[in-house]
């Protein structure tokens, strides 16, 4: 740490003048962190945490932001040795954050499918880990009948048997439509962030 008393002004910018979404200054700090500099590491984690809150706020329900942000920070911690100093920091960290976000979505919908098999209701009023904005945007990319079933279940909060009555479909048909629709949406999401 000696000799680097002003980590926050490493390229001449004060932290207050830098937007939260700007991670470009973190590369040299991450290199120091890999070498054991705790102060630099703390600064990297703090900046990444702030970035994650902006990134996740647009993508997941508010109550899930904290959990996913913490998972992403843990992933950064576990994989910090894989950062290559010759490459920019931002794409590396953003890739990890996106992976943790999509992984969480995948796990959530897998668990939800098991739930569908057990009971004829949907657990939450809306998706616990996907924001309504993202959900609405993705619904435009799947067939209408699947989008309708998902909208009724995830946004309007109807139980599966109620959706079956409203749409004149059998319960299993509603489940299949939601399952296929969610699968398509996850694929779309993964492709968009590949």
């Amino acid at each position: 740490m000696t000799g680097t008393p002003h980590l926050r002004v490493i390229d001449g910018k004060k932290p207050s003048s830098r937007p939260v979404t700007d991670l470009s200054h973190l590369g040299p700090l991450m290199v120091k962190a890999q070498e054991g500099d705790k102060r630099a590491y703390n600064e990297v984690l703090t900046a990444c945490d702030a970035w994650l809150r902006v990134f996740l706020a647009r993508r997941v329900a508010p109550e899930s932001v904290e959990d996913i942000a913490q998972e992403a920070l843990m992933a950064l911690h576990r994989k910090r040795h894989t950062y290559d100093p010759e490459k920019p920091f931002a794409p590396w960290f953003v890739a990890i954050a996106r992976y943790k976000w999509l992984d969480r979505l995948r796990k959530h919908y897998r668990a939800e499918e098991v739930e569908y098999e057990d009971q004829a209701s949907v657990s939450g009023h809306e998706s616990a880990v996907m924001s309504k904005i993202v959900l609405e945007r993705l619904l435009a990319h799947i067939p209408d009948n699947q989008a309708q079933a998902i909208r009724l279940a995830k946004i309007d909060g109807y139980a599966l048997d109620e959706i079956a009555q409203m749409t004149g479909q059998s319960l299993s048909s509603v489940k299949v439509r939601i399952h296929r629709g969610m699968k398509r949406m996850m694929k779309k999401l993964e492709e968009a962030h590949a």
Binding site: Q70, H77, H81, D84
Partner: protein
């Protein structure tokens, strides 16, 4: 820890527990893998060199084509696997299909396409089964080495990474076994060598994503 702390205390505890790390060095990993495979190849040739010489003397062009086919698949998919260890690498599905398709076309063009003489003669089940089991066994050093390197990396598409490792390791096993195998018919190669590659890929797809250590 996550249940009881907020982000700031998580950051503090991560900072506190942080120790210097040795950076991942992809080039060193490639050299280590190359060394392992070289030793395996040298050891195999020392044991079966006479058979290999006989096979290549008897049908040089097809034996060479078979070796190039499996070596090409090995190199292509090992390169894709290493690339996929980097979290910033975009999806490589199309490149994988391209590499695989190109090598299959190469095999179709240069291997024996004669299907006369009956299925049993072409597919030779007893020799084929030995080929299948041996190819899978010979793939293990590469499979294990790549799995180990994957655990130390940050693959953000674990399923694709697993498939690349499976195809690369299976192709390597097929390459080693193919050096002393006299069967050049495309049907035999597709069924038994293809089966071995399919098996290692399936095993990788099932096992490896759990080992990604995120």
């Amino acid at each position: 820890m996550r249940e009881t702390t907020d982000s700031m205390s998580l950051i503090d505890s991560l900072t506190e527990s942080m120790a210097p790390v040795t950076r991942r060095k992809p080039r060193r990993e490639m050299l280590i893998l190359g060394g392992i495979l070289f030793l395996q190849l040298a050891g195999t040739l020392a044991l079966i060199g006479t058979n290999t010489a006989a096979v290549f003397t008897h049908n040089l062009s097809m034996a060479a084509a078979k070796a190039v086919f499996f070596a090409g698949l090995t190199l292509g998919f090992a390169a894709l696997a290493f690339r996929s260890f980097d979290p910033t690498t975009p999806r490589q599905r199309n490149i994988a299909y391209g590499v695989g398709g190109l090598m299959v076309l190469f095999a179709i063009a240069f291997l024996d396409r004669n299907f006369g003489g009956g299925a049993v003669n072409i597919l030779a089940p007893s020799s084929g089964l030995r080929c299948l089991v041996s190819s899978v066994s010979f793939s293990l050093p590469m499979f294990i080495a790549l799995t180990f390197f994957m655990r130390g990396a940050a693959p953000t598409q674990p399923n694709a990474t697993a498939a690349f490792i499976g195809v690369a390791a299976g192709s390597w096993g097929a390459f080693i076994y193919g050096l002393q195998c006299p069967f050049m018919n495309i049907g035999f190669v597709a069924l038994w060598y293809g089966g071995a590659i399919a098996l290692t890929t399936l095993a990788a797809a099932v096992i490896l994503p759990r080992f990604a250590r995120w």
